[in-house]
Symmetry: C2
Subunit: 376 residues, 2 copies
């Protein structure tokens, strides 16, 4: 299935935008639903609908115009997607998979039920339950729903933190003493074919609690590469997933591999694949949901991917500083997301640095990021 | 200069479309002028103008809306571009360069004046002059202007062919007994920085007289690689070019290298760079005309690029046959141009095949092209 397919995407942010960029090569006709009238996808999709992807009627009416519906964000109305599926629209990932993943409580229980190793956890109804669980601290408290990019996650070390506890239903997750955080992106099409990308290593920003930069391939042993790829495949199969699945994992100091969380869509940890791998994660997601053969996931160059965040202290129309010095470094590529306005720590783009080795890529990335600033 | 630049492109075909795809990563605001109301660029540019790029007023009025104007086809109104330049619009390539290149007679004289080796030629006013030049035959007769994709070029072997001679001004070019045809794509920015892509080897379709497939890197000695790169650089400098220049060359059986013709824009012979090189020719053109540092031209994988032409015998709304079998071959990537209608030999897309060696890429490409057919 290629050419003239009407593909609807719930969400019109950067992930949708990069999906459309990949979809152009397949002649896809794209429809976008997003609450932001200036969403990054707007200028390049075929039809743009300004509305809430969390609203039943809006999603249902949008989906009825499409042959295939997918997502670039999990916080969507799954009831509407289930109804669309019932009425014959192709919906990938499956609405029930999205329903499980969008609720961190259900997601964690799913791992437990399927013998997928994950950090120990408890489910809390509200903040008053923190006190009864002080034996479990220190832990992360994560909102069950709507957390995103570091929002909805906080550390609860002891009694002193109870007052800031989330009021809404949450998951209390045991702190993991980990060596590295790893992401493995994999995909499965409706024929059941599976392809796994090489593992990537995530380095988090100490302040904003979101991915600061990423190294690919991950600096881990060949044996461990096999272990994490097998685990990703196991999770993919447990979900009976069709589409792309990004599996974030902790490698603990005691040598365990624990699944942290997953995203059933293209993911920040796979942006480098656009430049460093034969097939990009975006093309792979499209191949999977259109039931095309999956692409070769081989990585041809080492890569470092750096998120370009809005500079602290600046809000307003985005301006780009230091682009010349950045692009002067061989192997540095800039991808801007077309967002008109910047604010502190907003994801405005990313930078991929290619080199023969990750050490070289790291060195170049460290230089490049000193120059490029997004201000207002 | 990056972000929020208003880039006007004369021509809205596949080359413009791939320029826009590259430009999205730089947040460019794109305006397109094309006579086809369904031009491939239309759904993804910011502003689309339906009109003739050969008409003075149309081009002038279009250009006045832009910060930077470039082309994806040479057959444009250079007087309007010269006027725009005079009024402060950045126009790359320079209107005078386009004027020389769009006229094959001026182009050949330019090579002669600049000591750039090229096949011997004579300038003809019309078909009646063929008889007076029979000592020069066999030769190719090429229309001075408006030839494209094999149109406007024919072989004149002797008297029997005089009746089909082009009536319009033409160039009569000595047949070259060549071993290989090579293309070298290079670029220069306004600062004078130059970057050269590895040479590619063109294999022409025996029937349609346009590129059938292309191998990169070209299967030539290291010494010859240096020779052709140096010659490309010489041509670029002779034109005082800003932007991308594709230089087509003949490697003769006697070991000479002759410049055949050039294109001052992204070119069919560089499509593989989107998948096989660090920097694509499209990003490189943008970097050059925006006076950004040029990108690394290194090729990371061997590649074969095959044009996907409309299947003989089919005209009408395009349908794609055999996509599954094609995409099943690892390393095969399909790029469709979003053209609604197909006709015999129309360029509808291309296919890039990546592999560790060109021999492997060739073998895969031979398999892939048996499957993929564009019919109506």
């Amino acid at each position: 299935m290629i050419g003239n397919v009407k593909l609807g995407i719930l969400g019109g942010g950067q992930l949708g935008r990069m999906l459309i960029q990949a979809g152009l090569d397949f002649n896809l006709y794209t429809l976008i639903l997003d609450p932001d009238p200036d969403a990054p996808c707007k200028p390049i999709c075929n039809e743009f609908y300004n509305g809430s992807f969390a609203d039943y009627e809006t999603v249902y009416n949008f989906g009825k115009k499409c042959d295939v519906v997918t997502i670039e964000i999990e916080h969507v109305n799954c009831d509407a997607l289930a109804q669309l599926k019932k009425e014959g629209v192709t919906v990938y990932p499956d609405p029930e998979v999205i329903r499980t993943i969008q609720d961190k409580g259900l997601q964690k229980e799913f791992y437990r039920q399927n013998n997928i190793p994950t950090a120990d956890f408890r489910i809390l109804k509200d903040a008053t339950e923190l006190a009864a669980n002080s034996d479990f601290l220190p832990a992360f408290q994560k909102l069950r729903t709507l957390g995103y990019d570091g929002r909805g996650v906080q550390k609860i070390s002891g009694e002193a933190d109870f007052s800031k506890g989330f009021e809404a239903p949450s998951v209390l997750e045991k702190l993991v003493d980990y060596e590295k955080e790893i992401a493995v992106i994999c995909a499965r099409n409706a024929k059941g074919e599976i392809a796994v990308f090489p593992a990537t290593e995530l380095v988090f920003h100490p302040e904003f609690n979101l991915v600061d930069y990423l190294m690919a391939p991950a600096n881990i042993s060949e044996e461990l590469q096999k272990t994490v790829a097998d685990l990703a495949r196991k999770v993919l199969e447990a979900f009976d997933m069709v589409g792309l699945l990004a599996v974030e994992m902790f490698l603990t100091k005691t040598g365990e591999v624990l699944v942290n969380e997953v995203a059933p869509r293209p993911h920040n940890s796979g942006h480098h694949t656009m430049k460093a791998n034969y097939t990009s994660q975006f093309e792979q997601h499209l191949r999977a949901i259109l039931n095309l053969p999956l692409g070769d996931t081989k990585q041809h160059s080492a890569a470092v991917m750096v998120n370009l965040l809005g500079e602290p202290g600046y809000s307003g129309e985005a301006k780009y500083e230091g682009t010349d010095q950045t692009l002067e470094i061989p192997g540095v590529f800039v991808h801007l997301y077309g967002k008109k306005f910047t604010k502190p720590s907003r994801k405005m783009g990313h930078m991929t640095v290619l080199a023969p080795t990750t050490a070289e890529a790291n060195e170049k990335a460290a230089r490049a990021r000193k120059y490029l600033k997004i201000i207002a």
